[in-house]
Subunit: 156 residues, 2 copies
């Protein structure tokens, strides 16, 4: 299939189970911890009821998901969005589902008044880096050559 | 002065002008665009009235600022905090003000129910990377060797 043939859609509260299943599969595939689909689905229902989180699904049944949180930022009049997760199930990769998903995701950001979309991409994942560059993302600010690394610290 | 001698405090709405002045100085020093202190102060008053943004100041008069936004995240029960900016005015660097600021900032995150603190650090800024490592930050997830790059796309 090509990008045009994939139908992406913004997830509603009723899609929480599908979103949770895909996020759980994502972390399981990459050996990252997951609290399990049931807990994720409960959290997602709460998150989707608020204004800070949305998800995009692609395929019927859904084979891919993108999860976004938005927040205010002092440098922008509008919101800043962080693409927390983007996952396409194995077996459907390289067929345009990710592009269809990302295009709707960015369009949804626009509609929600987002001025800047951010994402952290693994250093060695050059395929993902190429994918995001092709869709307009950059690893540097305008007029800069300098990339930035993502640092983190868990509390407790 | 040592870390112990610097007094850091969480900024209130009345500190918006001080926070705005330091953020404007920050961007001016590093040739980044700034809408100017007045617009920043107006935005900060709005942001401080909400629950998603807080700032920490150090020194009297203030010579350093840290600005944090928090958001929900599906992988954590609590919040995720992003350290959007940390600035110490030239002339007072290397004297412990940044450490005092960061310690209060992390403690304030804990009090606000944050499970994860994130920050993006420039690739070539090894001093900043060492500073954050010394305070418990890591450029990789547990059990991983892989760093991540920060990607961005402005809309409009």
């Amino acid at each position: 299939m090509t990008t045009e043939q994939w139908r992406a859609r913004v997830a509603g509260p009723d899609d929480s189970d599908d979103v949770a299943r895909l996020l759980h599969d994502f972390n399981t595939e990459f050996d990252a911890p997951s609290p399990g689909s049931a807990i994720l689905a409960t959290r997602l229902r709460d998150l989707f009821a608020g204004e800070d989180t949305f998800a995009v699904l692609v395929g019927e049944p859904a084979v891919g998901v993108g999860l976004v949180t938005t927040r205010p930022n002092v440098w922008y009049e509008g919101l800043v969005a962080l693409l927390d997760e983007l996952y396409i199930a194995p077996g459907t990769r390289g067929q345009g589902a990710g592009s269809a998903l990302l295009e709707l995701l960015v369009e949804t950001c626009r509609q929600r008044g987002v001025d800047l979309v951010e994402i952290n991409v693994d250093e060695d994942d050059v395929d993902a880096q190429r994918f995001y560059r092709r869709h307009g993302f950059s690893s540097t600010e305008p007029d800069s050559e300098e990339r930035a690394f993502y640092f983190r610290m868990e509390l407790n």
